[in-house]
């Protein structure tokens, strides 16, 4: 058996290192987010995006030239997926009606030396819609975190709830930070992926917490950090295998799913690693530092008044 861990690994002894590592990553993410910002996709900024396909490899310089000559000098032209597919982006404009903008651009690029262009995709998002989406997206993440906080607090204990939400905030910040540092476009599908990361990371955290709770009740060990170490070691094989299968399918998605889904797969791939790490080193460490103890885990038995007396009737 490949992932058997016989000896208890002392994860908690690495707590300081983990806190340092996480702090660096979070600070790095926040720094990059505040300096570089996020490269928001069309969904959030508004604008027009047109994807066209040619019969053979397209000459970008020629297309740029044609667009420039027709008053679309601000257009960003790039290959998308293959060399015969071209993506053209335009910032929101006030002078042209959005309804007709895409048609005009299509006309301009429809005939080049690379042959006739076939319309593959048009996306237009008004600036106001984009703004709303940004608000809604942020709100969605917040609501998700709060709902989860409530559920975990209800099912476990507030220290665990706080630990898991800390881990989630940690994951979200670092994943979004990665998109900022690498300058990858952040669009609606990436937002969906980040929410899926929340789901995944939480999955991991819950499994670990569940085992910690169980061991508090079962094992006769007084040292809290030892119980946590024991639990983490016991669940480590499961954590590894699940991460592995998830990474396998994500790799399939990344390499076989096409260019449209790349951002999504990237965010999730990264999120799986960071989520696995955080369930061990952030959620558990946080619960430990918040002072979790056996008493919190054992259900208190409420003694009913008069329960020891005989019934009258």
């Amino acid at each position: 058996m490949w992932f058997r861990f016989k000896n208890t690994i002392n994860f908690m002894s690495q707590a300081k290192l983990a806190i340092f590592f996480s702090a660096v990553m979070i600070l790095g993410s926040i720094a990059s987010l505040s300096i570089n910002g996020l490269k928001f996709g069309l969904d959030f900024t508004g604008g027009t995006l047109i994807e066209v396909g040619y019969d053979k490899a397209a000459d970008l310089t020629e297309i740029r030239g044609q667009l420039d000559a027709n008053g679309f000098g601000d257009a960003v032209v790039q290959h998308f997926g293959t060399s015969s597919d071209v993506l053209i982006r335009l910032a929101p404009r006030n002078d042209v009606k959005p309804e007709t903008l895409s048609n005009q651009v299509l006309e301009v690029v429809s005939t080049t030396s690379s042959g006739e262009a076939e319309m593959r995709r048009i996306e237009f998002v008004g600036p106001s819609v984009g703004e709303e989406l940004k608000e809604q997206g942020g709100l969605a993440m917040l609501v998700a975190l709060i709902c989860i906080l409530i559920y975990v607090a209800f099912r476990f204990e507030w220290r665990f709830a706080l630990g898991s939400v800390l881990a989630l905030a940690h994951d979200v910040t670092i994943t979004v930070g990665l998109f900022s540092i690498l300058g990858i476009e952040f669009d609606l599908t990436v937002l969906a992926a980040v929410l899926a990361v929340i789901g995944y990371s939480l999955n991991d955290t819950i499994v670990v917490f569940d085992r910690i709770r169980e061991n508090f009740r079962k094992l006769r060990i007084d040292d809290v950090s030892e119980i946590i170490n024991e639990s983490l070691t016991q669940t480590l094989s499961r954590t590894t295998i699940t991460s592995l299968t998830t990474v396998l399918v994500l790799l399939a998605l990344f390499f076989k799913g096409g260019a449209l889904i790349h951002g999504f797969a990237t965010a999730l791939l990264f999120g799986v690693f960071i989520g696995t790490y955080s369930s061990i080193f952030v959620a558990s460490v946080a619960a430990l530092k918040l002072g979790i103890s056996r008493e919190d885990m054992i259900p208190t038995v409420i003694e009913k008044e008069g329960a020891d007396q005989d019934a009258l009737m």
Binding site: M1, G53, P98, E99, T100, S102, N103, L106, E118, M119, R120, R121, I122, E123, F124, V125, G126, S128, V129, Q136, A140, V143, A144, C147, I148, Y151, R155, L188, T189, L191, A192, I198, G199, Y200, L202, N203, I206, V207, D210, R211, Q234, S237, T242, L244, T245, T246, L248, V249, L250, L251, A252, L253, K256, G257, G258, L260, I261, F264, A265, L268
Partner: protein
């Protein structure tokens, strides 16, 4: 005895799994290209039209698979899209503009599957190709229009009552009237409050002898609602003319309308049609001209010949337009004092003046209402695009009974139905709050197919990789987990096909891939537990029993929290993202069933309840 399910449990699982297979089955049959022919404006399709189409197709030697009338539509199925396209052109020519011929794809599953409610999954626009528009009604214009109306109304009312006022101006979303004397203001307040019950009219606190009239919150809402509904009606009308199968026109929130046109290829045209304005014209009927001879081409100068929308009779109208539809502020049908249907029309101030001016000298004479809209002719322009033309039809001829003003009615209408229809047409041609596209997502048909292929490849690769890993790592139990995984896929597809609101999108396919990866998690949890129990020295049956038992609450907790994330995603996401949330949520539920219940059943049936020395795990 440990690890034995009672018979009913096996049966229940069998029933659920077979239901999953049954409803997933329609997806295996693929789809036929088809034509869908319906009458414009909710008319009926007759058997004679079916014969017409059938004959035309046979004459042109276009092979078709079947032709039938269903849901008041003629449905014709073809083998390939080439026949379909050819047949569309032929049918459009035969039937003319009274019928809409739309291209469609129809599920090719056998009839018995359809009878039990089995249908293939609905594909999102990103997989099917088509246009998604989000349109926004400019409410500020609607409100401004109402304000102008208020100004005109106040002016007219005060003049009629001979109340002198100093100034009448716009104020907020209402109006402000100043008076010279206090008693004038008091008289006006008294009178205006009675006449305009829908407004809040108060004395100004900061200015002397001043009245402020504002629309109540409810009234503003009403105005906006009216503008939105009007736009939806108009867009529905136009979308019907586009000849798109299964179009969707739906309100979103208070000011927006979603329009989805699957399979539309010529988006430029679609936008043109949606953006074009239908208009109305009131014109005088040329009584001197002979309608019959005018129809043959002898039209007097200064007149034009048009045809009645319902009867098809020619009507000769003067070329001069009395009034155009953009002066209409409202139209609705009701009954007069004798319970006869009528249509009430409201005009704006300017329109009222024009109408009043014209009718003053024309009492007793007929006036016609002309409706102008755009329709596909079925012909094609030299450059290959569809040809559209403005079609002008007479929708009503009425005799002017008295001098008309801002508010008048059309009587002598045959049925309440017709009155309703006329009011609808009047509203459709009236000035509306302008609408603009705030979001467009168009996917070409080739990209749609490519997305399907890519998504399928990713699912197959992901699936196979996980299958291989599970067998390598868990051997016998790996096979059990793989059975569960395969059933999970079938169940997801089955449930997606069964739920009317679920649509498969590209992110949705990504969601399925992700579910495949995460669904094994439950089995991993269980199997790891079983291994632990074995290491702890328990016998195989005890280990299985304990493993499943202790893993259950963990699995439930972990899945419920992911489910929360999916629900929130569904609540805020649009289109494709909603698709992702739906598949994720469905996947969580089905995977819990297959990973816990189905694997247990398989394990129980194979090794449960008898003596086993060693488990293949």
């Amino acid at each position: 005895m440990l690890n034995k399910y009672p018979l009913w449990k096996y049966l229940l699982i069998l029933v659920i799994v077979s239901a999953g297979f049954l409803y997933a089955l329609p997806n295996m049959y693929g789809e036929d290209p088809a034509l869908q022919i319906s009458a414009t404006r909710g008319g009926d399709v007759e058997i004679s039209q079916l014969e017409q189409v059938k004959q035309a197709l046979e004459q042109n030697q276009i092979p078709f698979q079947s032709i039938k009338i269903e849901n008041n539509q003629i449905q014709v199925r073809f083998k390939d899209t080439e026949d379909q396209l050819e047949a569309r052109d032929v049918s459009m020519q035969v039937l003319g503009t009274d019928f809409i011929v739309a291209l469609n794809i129809m599920p090719a599953q056998p009839k018995w599957l359809e009878d039990v409610g089995g249908n293939p999954m609905k594909l999102g626009l990103d997989l099917r190709g088509g246009v998604h528009f989000l349109m926004e009604v400019d409410m500020s214009v609607a409100l401004q229009k109402k304000q102008e109306e208020m100004l005109a109304d106040f002016r007219a009312e005060l003049r009629e009552q001979r109340i002198r006022y100093h100034r009448l101006t716009e104020y907020g979303n209402g109006v402000k009237v100043t008076f010279r004397k206090e008693d004038e203001m008091a008289a006006a307040l008294d009178h205006l409050s009675d006449t305009f019950a829908e407004l809040t009219i108060d004395e100004s606190r900061s200015e002397d002898n001043t009245l402020l009239a504002t629309m109540s919150e409810a009234r503003v809402k009403e105005v906006k609602e009216y503008a939105l509904q009007q736009n939806i009606t108009i867009i529905r009308n136009r979308v019907n003319q586009l000849g798109v199968a299964e179009p969707l026109v739906m309100r979103q929130g208070a000011e927006r309308i979603v329009v989805e046109l699957p399979g539309v290829q010529d988006t430029a045209r679609a936008k043109e049609i949606l953006g074009a304005t239908a208009t109305l014209e009131f014109r005088k009927v040329d009584e001197d001209a002979d309608a019959a001879s005018a129809a043959t081409g002898r039209v007097p100068p200064g007149s034009e010949v048009f045809y009645d929308r319902r009867t098809g009779q020619p009507v000769v109208l003067k070329k001069d337009v009395i009034l155009t539809g953009n002066h209409i502020t409202g139209a609705n049908s009701s009954f007069d004092e004798y319970q006869r249907p009528q249509v009430n029309i409201d005009l704006d101030g300017q329109g009222g003046n024009k109408m009043s001016h014209f009718t003053k000298d024309n009492i007793g004479k007929p006036m016609a209402t002309l409706f102008v809209e755009y329709k596909a002719t079925g012909r094609k322009k030299p450059d290959g695009s569809l040809e559209f033309e403005a079609i002008k039809e007479v929708i009503n001829v009425a005799t002017i009974q008295a001098r008309l003003a801002r508010s008048f009615r059309i009587t002598g209408i045959d049925s309440p139905n017709e009155a309703q229809n006329l009011a609808l047409l009047l509203r459709a041609g009236a000035l509306i709050a302008p609408i603009q596209i705030v979001e467009e997502r168009t996917v070409g048909p080739s990209l749609g197919q490519e997305n399907i292929d890519l998504g399928m490849t990713a699912i197959i690769w992901g699936f196979c990789l996980v299958l291989a890993f599970m067998i390598l790592y868990y051997r016998g139990f790996g096979v059990v987990a793989n059975i569960a995984l395969a059933l999970n896929l079938v169940l997801i597809v089955g449930v997606m096909s069964l739920i009317p609101g679920a649509t498969l999108t590209l992110p949705g396919m990504a969601g399925i891939v992700l579910t495949v990866g995460m669904a094994v998690d439950a089995n991993v949890l269980i199997f790891e537990r079983i291994r632990e129990e074995i290491i702890d020295g328990r016998g195989p049956q005890q280990a299985i029993h304990q493993g499943y038992d202790s893993a259950f609450s963990t699995i439930a907790d972990a899945n419920i929290t992911t489910f929360i994330a999916a629900v929130i995603l569904f609540a805020v996401g649009t289109g494709p993202i909603k698709g992702f949330a739906v598949t994720l949520a469905i996947g969580i539920i089905t995977s819990m069933f297959t990973a816990i219940v189905v694997t247990r059943a398989v394990v129980n049936a194979s090794v449960g309840g008898r003596k086993v020395n060693k488990l293949s795990i």
